[in-house]
């Protein structure tokens, strides 16, 4: 470590300063002596370059290194690649036994892939750790450089050391005939016309433009940090919801976890007609969908929301035709078209209770598949709902159970009380669908349950007593409170990219010593453009130079 950091001009520099903060004389040679100067961060000492780093400083130093940042980027890149070898578990909905699935589908390699946790690469601890480390690196790298750079650029001295000028990448030296101050005075408007801010001091001049582009990279990093934080915090409860809900046509259904109800008024699928298809698709029997649309109405529950015995009071808040790229969006609650099912779903039936012996009818009642009442009174009889099975099946022990919550094969178990029946009542199972009645042998089950089927029956008299939902639309309901931050972060990144890449910070230093003009030029990118600009600046001042000859330290073949 170099301890004497005092420059010959008398300025006391911080440890690690490459170019004297005042006059620009090189203090530390990073390359070979005489080579073009290393102008990164204007030669200022980075914050991390301290004489005696303690533990925290060392962590800071680790993350402040661009080299470490590059390694982190490369590791993340390689990690991300690994995740694309086989499909990730997240791409399957409802994968029962992932380990077996990977083994079976992708062989031994798939098994190893799964056991290494690569089937869920992007949620693995190491991948998230890498992202967190990149985040830390972004913050620390930026802070470490931006403050010293800001200081260095805001207190620039106009007259720089001769060596600072002649070791820039754009250099011109040549004689001038007039007085130094006169020449500087003449140069000022020429530079101003090119958009430079000009500061002069005797026989020295500093012209500078577009300094703001220096902040581009740091703006990018700020945007990325906001983006990364937003992505990490999305995981917190309440900020994020992602549910797949089925909505049978014509029924307002509650969106789980919210006070909102959504009604699918009508679902439509259109296919391309044969005429609209290209030749290769015609007459192949292929159906190419053109449009999926759910006419949706969103309601908010205003009262009696949590009490199951009362009907919730709903207020319409939004109405939208949901299509694939046109979701319903209500204050951050977004419903996307996800899938559909065109098989009709039984919604309700209105059976009549019939006395099988006398043929007497005791009246009709409405049995709603999803929300049946707890009991029904029909003539002298009461039907108490004991249990309902939406997707009826008998398990291995011969007990009734439900395969799924979807009303594929609904069945209702009633306790019937009334005349001619035991006092404690008799059990009766009812399948509203005719096909299930036969399939599961309703009469046989009822015989086992107590033989009530000989006396009473539930019978649907007319088709008008059956209510079907023609189709079901599956919507993906999402809420993402972090999204505004994600978009803000990305917008800031883009701003930074444009600042940093489409503008360049250009500086030209001039000094005249005994009739000898020395010019040094520096830019962050595009030296080609700067050389061209210097030529066009010198020309009206009576100095003709060739673009190539300004190029310093190169073309020495």
């Amino acid at each position: 470590m170099i301890s004497n950091t005092k420059c010959e001009c008398g300025h006391q520099n911080r440890v690690g300063t490459v170019l004297c903060e005042a006059c620009g004389k090189p203090l530390i040679e990073l390359g070979e002596a005489g080579e073009v100067l290393e102008m990164r961060y204007d030669g200022a000492a980075r914050r991390s370059q301290r004489a005696n780093p303690n533990f925290i400083d060392q962590i800071w130093n680790f993350f402040s290194s661009v080299k470490v940042a590059i390694y982190l980027i490369i590791l993340t890149l390689l990690g991300a690649m690994l995740g694309t070898v086989f499909p990730q578990v997240s791409t399957f909905i409802n994968l029962q036994n992932p380990e077996e699935y990977y083994k079976k589908t992708y062989g031994t390699l798939g098994g190893i892939y799964y056991s290494l946790g690569l089937a869920d690469t992007y949620n693995s601890w190491w991948f998230i750790l890498l992202l967190v480390m990149i985040g830390s690196s972004l913050v620390i790298c930026s802070l470490d450089r931006v403050l010293p750079l800001y200081k260095a650029l805001s207190k620039q001295k106009i007259k720089k050391h001769m060596e600072f000028l002649t070791r820039q990448r754009v250099v011109y030296q040549g004689p001038i005939l007039e007085r130094a101050e006169e020449w500087i005075r003449r140069a000022t408007p020429v530079l101003k016309k090119k958009g430079y801010r000009v500061h002069s001091e005797g026989a020295a001049l500093l012209a500078e433009k577009q300094r703001f582009s220096r902040w581009g990279p740091y703006v990018i990093h700020i945007g990325l940090i906001i983006f990364l934080l937003a992505v990490l915090f999305r995981g917190l409860p309440g900020l994020h919801m992602d549910e797949y809900v089925s909505f049978p046509e014509g029924e307002a259904k509650r969106i789980p976890g919210t006070t909102f109800y959504l009604k699918n008024e009508q679902f439509t699928v259109n296919y391309y007609s044969e005429k609209e298809l290209p030749k290769e698709f015609q007459n192949t029997g292929k159906m190419l969908p053109k449009l999926f649309q759910t006419k949706a109405v969103l309601y908010e529950c205003t009262s009696s929301c949590e009490d199951p015995s009362k009907t919730p009071v709903l207020k319409e808040v939004a109405r939208h035709d949901i299509e694939v790229n046109k979701p319903l969006d209500y204050k951050g609650l977004v419903a996307y078209q996800y899938d559909f099912d065109l098989t009709p779903k039984l919604r309700s039936v209105q059976p009549v209770l019939v006395n099988k012996v006398t043929g007497e009818e005791y009246g009709k009642f409405k049995l709603d598949m999803m929300n049946p009442k707890r009991s029904y009174t029909l003539g002298p009889y009461t039907l108490e709902l004991k249990n309902k099975y939406m997707d009826f099946m008998l398990n291995d022990d011969g007990e009734p159970t439900s395969k799924s919550p979807n009303p594929n094969a609904p069945a209702f178990l009633f306790l019937v009380k009334g005349p001619d029946l035991p006092k404690e009542g008799a059990q009766f199972i009812y399948f509203p669908k005719q096909i299930d009645k036969a399939r599961f042998q309703q009469d046989l089950i009822n015989e086992k349950l107590g033989g009530i089927e000989k006396k009473l029956d539930l019978d649907v008299k007319a088709m008008s007593d059956v209510d079907f939902a023609k189709s079901t639309s599956f919507l993906n309901i999402r809420m993402d409170r972090a999204m505004p931050f994600v978009w803000t972060g990305l917008a800031i990144v883009m701003l930074g990219l444009v600042l940093g890449f489409y503008w360049t910070h250009r500086r030209i230093w001039l000094r005249i010593d005994d009739g000898q003009l020395t010019l040094g030029g520096h830019t962050t990118k595009n030296f080609f453009g700067l050389r061209r600009e210097v030529v066009s600046i010198l020309k009206p001042l009576g100095v003709e130079v060739d673009e190539k000859s300004l190029d310093n330290g190169r073309n020495q073949e």
């Binding site: 290393e38 694309t84 699935y101 790229n325 489409y502």
Partner: protein
């Protein structure tokens, strides 16, 4: 004008611009090589022929723009939604990027390298069916078009960056050197040449067999295990338009034309080559390697020296540092456009179409990988000793990453983007 007329004009314009690019390439070659011809002043010759070739390539670009405009009008939407349209658009943007960089730097030689890339990409586009296809619902979004067009624009600048970087390497690698470093550099330059020729090999093979109307059909049994662990067997018919070196896994020949005595497939794909068309994709890759190798060997026999060594003298007059800077500049121009197109707008679109701005779909991941790769490149350029040769190799490899993202992902990994369908 009717839709059919517009599409006809579009087709014609595509052909004309393709041939104009080829002619422009030859003119650029005359401009560069002709400098050493007798009875002429090299500077004047280059200036004159440089102008002529740039004029031809610009007319070609106008034709390409006409193709794009008429197809847009004819199809009623921006033509970037299948592989044919996307690759045509990409080659058009490569020409735009070349034109911009050429107008800044005026390096005639750049044309000699940028034009072949555009021509190859355009020929690659022609491999795919050119019909205007109707769109499935998820593709009907304005964000999609902005996403695809901007991403392709960014990638075109990377392509020009690649061309300049490769020129830098051809200019600086010591082809007569005998030490280890030189030999390794030479080998990799040659390998890059071979990779480019492999793409040409693929295109030549496809067009040759298409012209001869080659066809072989296989039926293959697909055994799939669904998520519940149930296996189903399905019979698929796969049509090959290239002679089957590799037949699909577990397949039978239904019909097969004989080619050069080959009337049975040479090999069958191993079982891990999944999916109905995977066997065909593998066959295509094998054919590209075979075709590339044949063309490469013929060229080597013809010129009797490594191709890198053949080309490098053309670059003698160029300043390597300029090439390095052009490469850096092109990538620096492309990077923000790529970020906006391939990531930001992709996220906006994904948010609209699928309700999530990011889903770790392979294509998305590879776009991220490309982005990380080029950001690593930009950071590396800050360090000492990474300008010049190392940076050029990174830029050359970067284009491979981009190409893998565009084509390889569809060939090797299928995901949500697979409707962009490759053969």
């Amino acid at each position: 004008m009717s839709t059919q007329d517009l599409l006809e004009i579009s087709k014609q314009a595509f052909m004309y611009s393709f041939f104009l690019y080829c002619i422009a390439f030859i003119a650029f070659a005359v401009a560069v090589i002709g400098k050493s011809w007798r009875n002429r002043d090299p500077v004047r010759h280059e200036r004159k022929w440089g102008r002529i070739s740039f004029f031809i390539s610009s007319v070609g670009l106008l034709g390409h723009l006409l193709y794009f405009g008429t197809r847009w009008a004819g199809a009623g939407r921006i033509p970037v939604s299948n592989m044919y349209e996307f690759m045509s658009f990409l080659s058009m943007m490569i020409m735009v990027a070349f034109t911009i960089v050429f107008l800044i730097y005026r390096k005639t030689l750049l044309g000699l390298f940028a034009l072949p890339i555009a021509v190859i990409v355009m020929a690659y586009a022609a491999v795919f069916p050119a019909e205007v296809q109707p769109l499935i619902p998820s593709l009907k979004s304005i964000w999609l078009y902005i996403h695809v067009t901007l991403a392709a624009t960014g990638e075109s600048f990377f392509a020009v960056g690649f061309a300049a970087a490769f020129m830098y390497l051809l200019r600086t690698v010591n082809f007569d050197g005998k030490d280890k470093v030189d030999r390794r550099q030479k080998w990799w330059v040659e390998f890059t040449m071979f990779s480019i020729i492999m793409v040409i090999g693929f295109i030549v093979a496809v067009f040759a067999f298409r012209a001869s109307g080659y066809q072989a059909v296989f039926t293959s049994q697909q055994i799939t295990t669904d998520t519940a662990g149930q296996t189903t067997t399905k019979e698929d018919k796969v049509e090959y338009n290239l002679p089957p070196i590799v037949a699909p896994y577990n397949s039978k020949v239904e019909s097969m034309q004989s080619f050069a005595g080959l009337d049975q497939p040479l090999l069958h794909a191993p079982s891990w080559v999944e999916g109905a068309t995977a066997g065909r994709k593998l066959n295509t890759i094998v054919w590209s390697i075979v075709g590339g190798a044949i063309i490469y060997l013929l060229l080597r026999l013809l010129v009797r020296r490594p191709l890198g060594k053949l080309v490098s003298p053309l670059l003698k007059g160029l300043d390597p540092d300029d090439l390095d800077e052009i490469s850096y500049r092109a990538i620096a121009i492309g990077f923000p456009i790529f970020t906006l197109g391939a990531l930001v707008f992709a996220m906006i679109w994904a948010q609209q179409a699928w309700g999530r701005f990011w889903g770790w779909d392979p294509k998305e991941v590879w776009a991220l990988i490309s982005w990380l790769y080029y950001s690593a490149y930009l950071h590396l350029r800050l360090s000492r000793g990474f300008q010049g040769r190392k940076a050029s190799w990174i830029a050359v490899l970067g284009f491979l990453v981009i190409m893998f993202t565009l084509v390889g992902v569809n060939l090797v990994i299928a995901g949500l983007h697979s409707y962009a369908g490759t053969n």
